[in-house]
């Protein structure tokens, strides 16, 4: 069920009314309603994979309870390993098995037939919910968290607004919200709908419009000239941001309508002045997960400079592999890992201060500072765009061809889609505007005539200009 579909709107109306009618009922009843709705949401795509969710929930709940119950470190570690192996085993079977078979077939020449693929489909949101459940058992192992009831944990695993494509929620921030009463309140619905509307515009108007251009150019890059390819990469950078952050906005909005706060996932990433800042603004819930559960577990920066760089590279390479089983994602991860390591090295050598996430580009008034920010932002954006080529291209060969055609400014069909020409300038103007996050909510509100006009205008833009038809979110495939 896609957030932008009529089916989802009907589903939400029924759920909100049901929860509202159950307002005076015990909390347990409301939790059952929420759990059933979440299972229904997931089962709407393919009911067979509900068993996978139940399996993951049961195993991790069992492991977490046993870890918490034991004071013996060996036993605790044993249960943690069972949980991690179980989660990674599910991921390996469904997501990476065929990739490793291909890699083996490429490397090993066996007499007779090559190893065969498993005929399986990738369960929706598998990378998201396995990471969530792993963080739960790891946090309990690290004694940062106490186990919750099976009901609460089940809701944490399948909470439908974010389970398919994030934000990746930490148990420590979500489970306490299940302790307080689940209430459907008008102001929360209003507030959530604002966030949902902003996400809807990002997805339906910007991302889906650009996808027409991006899909066609990436389908046959050899037909187009260098300028068209370069434009398509920039268009993809905008598309994937608006698609994914649009989904996150909608998820946060839906969560808020039901009385839950989900973490912020994006903070205008293309405003970043360096790659380290980019990763503190892009897919924040994943980057912080990788930092807390992978980078730190590998030793972080506690084991010397060289080991820090290796840890960074390893973390980002695995982060790339998290997105999908292909060499392109691995290269994308290596590129980001290398860039992060180089940036860290330069910072250390030059003695630069740490990246300050609270400060933003273009906030200082002096022309010199603005120019320096502009240069840094553009260079970082270009680096990110080069990596996006590998992320988006269907094969490694296609990505290389794409890159070479841009680098050598090849001739071909010159085609700049109108959506790119209209959207890109407006997008960057808004994206780079200082203080735009606060401005967004001043503009989109229901309390003033201008605010209502802005909301109505956004609705009309969706109705009149968004491409027709439902296109799934890009991150659904991960």
């Amino acid at each position: 069920m896609i957030f932008s579909s009529l089916d989802f709107v009907l589903f939400m109306i029924v759920l909100v009314i049901t929860l509202r009618l159950a307002q005076q009922r015990p909390e347990h009843t409301k939790k059952i309603i929420l759990l059933v709705a979440s299972y229904y949401f997931y089962g709407y795509w393919d009911w067979r994979f509900l068993s996978l969710l139940v399996y993951t929930t049961a195993i991790d709940h069992l492991c977490a309870t046993r870890i918490h119950a034991s004071s013996d470190d060996v036993v605790r570690k044993r249960w943690l390993v069972i949980s991690i192996v179980s989660n990674l085993g599910v991921l390996a079977a469904f997501k990476y098995f065929n990739f490793f078979i291909d890699a083996l077939n490429d490397v090993i020449t066996l007499e007779g037939e090559p190893l065969r693929h498993l005929n399986i489909i990738l369960p929706l949101g598998i990378s998201f919910f396995t990471f969530q459940t792993m963080s739960y058992t790891i946090d309990i192992y690290r004694r940062k968290l106490a186990p919750s009831s099976l009901m609460d944990f089940s809701i944490f695993v399948v909470f439908f607004p974010q389970m398919v494509a994030g934000p990746i929620v930490r148990a420590a921030s979500f489970l306490p919200q299940l302790v307080r009463p689940i209430e459907i309140r008008f102001e929360r619905i209003v507030d959530g709908s604002r966030q949902f509307l902003v996400g809807f515009v990002k997805k339906a108007v910007i991302a889906d419009s650009l996808s027409i251009f991006v899909d066609e150019v990436f389908r046959q890059p050899s037909a187009y000239d260098g300028a068209t390819l370069a434009a398509a990469v920039i268009a993809y950078a905008i598309q994937i941001y608006c698609d994914f952050s649009g989904y996150s906005d909608m998820a946060i909005g839906v969560g808020r309508m039901l009385g839950f706060e989900l973490p912020v996932n994006f903070r205008h990433p293309y405003k970043a002045r360096n790659i380290t800042e980019f990763w503190r603004r892009w897919h924040i819930s994943l980057s912080s997960w990788l930092r807390d559960y992978l980078y730190i577990s590998l030793g972080g920066n506690r084991k010397g400079r060289v080991r820090t760089y290796i840890n960074l590279m390893a973390t980002m390479t695995l982060g790339g592999l998290w997105h999908g089983a292909s060499y392109n994602f691995i290269i994308w991860g290596i590129m980001h890992g290398t860039a992060l390591a180089v940036h860290k090295f330069v910072m250390e050598v030059t003695g630069s201060e740490k990246v300050d996430i609270e400060s933003e580009a273009f906030q200082q008034k002096s022309p010199g500072a603005i120019l320096r920010d502009a240069l840094s932002v553009v260079l970082t954006f270009m680096l990110v765009c080069v990596a996006w080529i590998f992320f988006r291209a269907p094969t490694l060969q296609s990505a290389m061809d794409f890159l070479i055609r841009i680098a050598t400014w090849q001739d071909g069909i010159h085609w700049l889609h109108i959506s790119f020409l209209l959207v890109a300038p407006v997008f960057f103007l808004w994206h780079w505007l200082p203080g735009n996050e606060a401005a967004k909510y001043r503009v989109v509100n229901y309390n003033t005539a201008w605010g209502v006009s802005a909301c109505f205008t956004l609705l009309m833009i969706i109705l009149l200009f968004s491409p027709l038809g439902l296109s799934p979110f890009i991150y659904f495939q991960f």
């Binding site: 008008f186 102001e187 209003v190 507030d191 027409i212 066609e216 037909a223 001739d411 071909g412 069909i413 085609w415 700049l416 889609h417 109108i418 959506s419 020409l421 909510y441 509100n445 229901y446 309390n447 003033t448 005539a449 209502v452 006009s453 109505f456 205008t457 009309m460 109705l463 009149l464 027709l468």
Partner: protein, 364 residues
């Protein structure tokens, strides 16, 4: 972020804001993207465009235009006694909403022929959703007034399939041969009549209805089967029946005019793919052309040669994909050049005295 949503806007202000917004979008669409519906019912043709009404095409290409006094996307026919007139019958490819009127192939053809033949008038009688069966009806209606020297009849890949639409009634004789074809009012025309009071006054409603037509059609199909079943199924129709129906149309045209030339436009993007157009219409039209003795012009080779030389697709716009949909500016230019080369000798041959005398008197 905290909200004070309990402080709701006054209802009257809210209504005023919504009405103001609707008015804004109505004006915005009229200014840039769409006029209200310009179509008026017509007993023979289903509907025609209101003469001199304004039209904006923004979904494929972009052009603002005004219909002529005959209701077509063209300048008014020249009102000169010695004018040599070519009439072009066709569908949306000939109507050419997607490009500025001055750059459509009929206008460019006129410009090219005028260099050689002086008073030439190429009149466009093409309209979106015209089936070949419309062509004799349109020609008959305007024949007396226009008195064309030559009639060009444009066909596309879907043309023979269109002759199997639900609103075309075909009478066969005992041997199963087509003896009569008649056009009836289509469901789409009935819907347009029903909605006319709304869509002819509001650009917003007209634009929205056109935009959501595929969605609504999709919903209807889910519940009661395909609305366009007649046309979709026509892809499977036998070649012999296609030929017969085309021959019927061509004979009807021949009965109206003695000098007819057929023009077949290849499938969009054929020049890019480099594969020959093997559509059922192409095959049927070839056979029908032979059966009726009417010459058939095919610009496919000219399209391909131009693409290979310049690398510019002949179909597709900035808001659609290259090699898809209707002809773009380049496509119209190449087609006009092809037609000028193909038609000029026929025109010279048609009235040698006129042309020769003009050529002997340069500057006249």
């Amino acid at each position: 972020m905290e909200l004070s949503s309990r402080r709701t806007l006054d209802r009257k202000i809210l209504i005023a804001v919504l009405i103001g917004n609707l008015l804004f979008w109505e004006l915005f669409l009229r200014a840039f993207l769409s006029a209200p519906s310009t179509q008026i019912p017509d007993a023979d043709l289903g509907y025609v465009n209101q003469p001199y009404a304004r039209y904006v095409e923004s979904q494929e290409g972009y052009a603002q235009t005004r219909f002529n006094r005959l209701g077509f996307n063209d300048a008014d026919p020249l009102d000169l006694p010695a004018v040599r007139r070519i009439v072009v019958l066709g569908d949306s490819y000939t109507e050419a909403f997607q490009v500025p009127s001055a750059l459509s192939y009929t206008q460019l053809l006129e410009d090219r022929l005028r260099d050689e033949l002086k008073q030439v008038d190429v009149v466009k009688l093409g309209r979106d959703s015209f089936f070949p069966l419309h062509y004799p009806l349109v020609l008959k209606r305007h024949l007396k007034e226009l008195k064309p020297e030559l009639v060009v009849v444009q066909f596309g890949t879907h043309s023979s399939g269109d002759l199997f639409a639900d609103n075309i009634k075909v009478t066969h004789n005992r041997l199963g041969q087509v003896v009569h074809m008649a056009l009836e009012k289509s469901a789409s025309d009935r819907h347009k009549e029903l909605l006319r009071p709304l869509i002819s006054n509001s650009a917003l409603l007209y634009y929205s209805l056109r935009r959501f037509k595929p969605v609504v059609t999709g919903w209807l199909e889910r519940f009661r089967g395909s609305a366009n079943a007649g046309i979709q199924q026509s892809e499977d129709k036998p070649l012999a029946e296609r030929i017969e129906r085309l021959v019927y149309v061509l004979n009807s045209l021949k009965a109206l005019h003695s000098r007819i030339v057929l023009l077949y436009l290849p499938a969009p993007g054929t020049e890019m793919r480099g594969t020959s157009d093997n559509s059922p219409t192409w095959k049927a039209l070839h056979a029908a052309s032979l059966a009726t003795g009417l010459p058939l012009l095919e610009p496919a080779a000219a399209f391909r040669a131009h693409y290979l030389t310049h690398g510019i697709p002949l179909n597709g716009f900035a808001n659609t994909m290259p090699g898809t949909g209707h002809l773009n500016n380049t496509g119209h230019r190449v087609l006009s050049e092809f037609l000028a080369t193909s038609l000029a000798p026929r025109l010279v041959a048609g009235r040698p005295g006129d042309t020769a005398s003009r050529r002997q008197e340069p500057g006249t």
